[in-house]
Amino acid sequence: MPNERPDPDELLRRLAEEEKQKKRGKLTVFFGAAPGVGKTYAMLEVARAELAEQRDVLVGVVETHGRFETAALLVGLDVLPRRKISYRGVEVEEFDLDAALERHPALILMDELAHTNAEGSRHPKRWQDVEELLDAGIDVFATMNVQHVESLNDVVAQITGVIVRETVPDSVLERAHEIKLVDLPPDELLLRLKDGKVYVSAQAQHAIENFFRKGNLIALRELALRQTAERVDAQMQAYRRAQGIEQTWAASEQILVAVSPSPYSVPLVRAARRMAAALHAHWFAVYVEPRISRPISKANEARLSQNLRLAERLGAEVVTLTGDRASDEILRFSRERNVTKIIVGKPVVAKLRDRFRASLVDQLVRHSGDIDVYVTAGDPEEEERLPAKAVPVPLELPSFLAAALATLAATLVGWWLFGRHQLPDVVMTYLLGIMLVSSRFGLFPSVFAAFLSVAALDFFFVPPFFTFAVADFSHTVTFAVMFLVAVVISGLTERVKNQAAAARQREQRTAALYELSRELTSAQSSRRVIEVGAAELERALSSKVAVFRPDAEGRVRSVFASPGLDESAERQESISQWVWLHRQEAGRGTTTLPSSRALYVPLLASGGIVGVLGLTPTPSDRFDSIEQRRQVDAFAAQLALAMERALLAEQTERARREVEAEQLKNSLLSSVSHDLRTPLAVITGAASTLLQGNPRVDDATAQDLTKTILEESERLNRLIRNLLDMTRLESGAVKVNKEWLALEEVVGAALGRMEQRLVGREVTVSIPAELPLVPFDMVLIEQVLINLLENAAKYSQGPLEISASLEPSASLEPGAVLVQVDDRGPGIPEGQEARVFEKFHRAAREGSPGGVGLGLSICRAIVAAHGGRIWAQNRPDGGASFRFVLPIQGQPPELGLPPQLEQQLPESSA
């Protein structure tokens, strides 16, 4: 039934694509069937035309191969100098990507798109360089031959017998803005080859002879033409879709290919890709991970991830499912995602098992319903690429020895307990032994034990005794049954064991993730989140961990490293910078800078990238397995979310603090303007009265006014002093100059300074003579005491007490001294004990004397700078007590006076 309504998802996708395409540079590929058809020449000709139209054209890489006609076209074009890379002592010239990005031309020429870059370059392949150039908004002209198209790779190999290792993903071609076919009939090409007009490198001489056979060239030409035609067809369809002409809007085809660790999966994936390309279908590469199974071998795991990565490169959406039966999972997924075609491999070797149980293919065919199932055969290609390591079967001698011992024990027990007459009981004893062996040592030893047990039963318990001969045929049946039961038991036990192991592994994975999220929840600051997360990752992934974030200047730097990624800091920073900018992973196991030792993963959260995670695993190939990589991704996602949360919280906190600072500034302004203006008003008033001659004030009034002026000036002086002190303390301009001093000296100095203000007040000082010297800054602590005394003088009447003692609490090692200033005033209002030290806090009491409310905050700042603590409390018998402790750290200097100096001096008279 025709669907009139355009698929909204499809529309959205196209919109997003168009948006992206607008900013992206345009790629034009000069496409040919074989080397020598004139791609570079054609590219240069078009480039010259562009240059003539005043476009900024830069030659990134062009290989002239010494051909004069081609070189001539280069004249007048701006050529980018190559970058020299020293690789294993040999200097190689490579395309300079950074220079090109820096230069940022409108159009850049990149010959040989499939070229593999020298090790040490940012990307292993040139097409990746091109992608980056396109992302930067630079138009690119590139050349490539049909045999380098990834999905056609095996077809070309079949036709020509030459395996081409340098491939370009089809997606690159698909995204190309324009493909220009450079065509040359095979005969002409062969003629050119004969004339020496086709570049052939020395080492390729042999291969090239096979390659340039006429049959090959025709086939390749057909491939190239067809590829271009498909592309034109796709454009046509896209156009129709855009114009809404096509009525067959029905959801497009979806193809699914089942991937396994087998090498046969490679051609399968390619076949799926070709079908998907032909149908313009979205396609999935699916691997079903058995829920209960023995862990797959390392070699298989590597092959599996290679297969899946190939699929990903070819544009598939890679999905891993978990389930007991592959067919069920594949079909369930297919229904969910509207898959129309399933491609599976044809089983190569008919397995015995398939006779009892339906194979995957059978099951798929049987249950697929309206979904087409394609069964494809394929050669296991590129076997040599995959290190076919022999899977080490854990056949350890001790476990077989144990199996033998268990059989022996069962024999002895059977002999001793049951003798020859109770054969069934003996059989049971043997079965028990086999079960124990299988539960402890696994399948093979237990099968071995089963075999031994049957032999022992025959030898010891079945007549004729002590021979392996069997008299009664029924015993043979017993043996067979016993062996069968033993093997089944072994199989079942093994399965239970594997289930348990798999469950354990899954549980560990989940537990590690849970642990991480729990730890991260408790961390408050982003710094702490990074520390906690990194420590957890270090443990769970047994890797060295580093986290990178941009600094104030936007340079991405390491903000956490433990103990480092085994790579130079510059390299780490440059890679993480790249990851930060491109939001793509880089480093080991990826397509960007794979020679790096560490893997760099972008920490992507909902609001964007929050950091870059660097991991150096031990062993170094740890992350090559899909399973591990998935765990890395899961951890990275958790960490990213936690970091985003912490960063947002910090941002809010910063904003809040800014508001507070603003409020503080306002309160300072109002307070300062009030407190400065009041004494100024009094002084101005008094002075102007004195100056006014008419009528003249009498002497007593004049005296009074003058006194007022003096008092108000002093008040003003105190205010300004406090403001200046606070400013200097806060700006960090004050250096604490500690000296070992006696407290009585500073108390004396402060009291001397306060003499005028404390007139008429009884001040008691009690400082024990045995009090040790304390390291402090004389001038600053004098200020603390003066402020405390001023405060006491301001808010209380009556006697004052100053006392000092050794702080009795042992919490401060090696000791501390406690100083307190007590008054007999009204005390501090309930709950205000801590607030009195806050800036601009003033006792809200009617008629209380003015002040900016800085004196006590200055005290707090000074005491804190000494490493001490200041607080206030009310005395039980009335009045306030302000106390501070100063730590006694270090040793007072030695006081060894030169003795001769004492003796030299004349004795005072006795």
């Binding site: 001093l741 004396g748 004389m778 200097p893 004349p906 005072s908 008279s909």
Partner: protein
């Protein structure tokens, strides 16, 4: 007036400050010369040879410290430094460079006149002076090396005695730690202010009724010590 008026040179850049000094000092019977800059001050000092110099440390053209040093190259007249609070280091440097005393802004006129009198008295004392010193209950017989407090003889160690006599010699003036160390312990004493603090503490315990509220041996925080005089 039988004798000529005492001449004071004020080197101060603030006009208001000069006005205040002019008013209070002229009223106190002194004759005033004013200079706005360090250069002017040095010229005036050389030309008029004043009896005392009041020097502001925060001059626009030159550091007050440099002025002190240059004056001390040829002149013996007392120099009193005027500075703002928080410049303890500047004060010490000026005193070590040869200034006789300092005053911290803001100050009252009574304090200013007292400092001037002390400085002038010291300048007038050419010989070792009296062999007797008395302050409150404290009596020191410099000839007989005897110290009495409220008619009780006090036993001092040699260093304590020397410290006391050094302070008596400069009674009323502030002495920096360095000056005291050099005079009591000799030129090799260095910066071991610790000695000084310990001996000053001992001296206070022997001479002061309440060592934490001294009446004679005053501490100038961050700068040094001063023996209080009667005024």
């Amino acid at each position: 007036m039988s004798e000529p008026a005492i001449v004071i040179l004020v080197i101060e850049d603030e006009a208001q400050m000069r006005r205040f000094l002019r008013a209070s000092l002229t009223h106190g019977g002194y004759q005033l010369i004013e200079a706005e800059t360090a250069e002017q001050g040095l010229v005036q000092a050389a030309a008029r040879n004043p009896d005392l110099v009041l020097l502001d440390l925060g001059l626009p053209d030159q550091d007050g410290l440099v002025v002190t040093e240059r004056l001390r190259q040829w002149a013996k007249m007392p120099i009193i430094v005027i500075s703002a609070r928080g410049q303890e280091q500047d004060k010490i440097q000026a005193l070590d460079a040869g200034a006789d005393d300092y005053l911290t802004k803001p100050f009252g006129v009574g304090e200013l006149l007292a400092r001037i009198r002390v400085a002038l008295r010291h300048a007038a004392k050419t010989s070792e002076g009296d062999s007797q010193f008395s302050l409150g209950e404290l009596r020191v017989d410099l000839g007989r090396r005897q110290v009495r407090l409220a008619d009780q003889e006090v036993h001092l160690t040699p260093i304590e005695y020397r410290l006391l006599t050094t302070l008596i010699k400069h009674a009323g003036r502030v002495l920096t730690h360095r000056q005291l160390l050099r005079e009591v312990w000799g030129p090799n004493a260095g910066d071991q202010t610790q000695y000084l603090r310990v001996y000053m503490g001992q001296l206070r315990h022997k001479l002061e009724q309440d060592p934490s509220r001294p009446r004679y041996l005053m501490t100038e925080p961050g700068v040094g010590y001063r023996l209080r005089t009667e005024e």
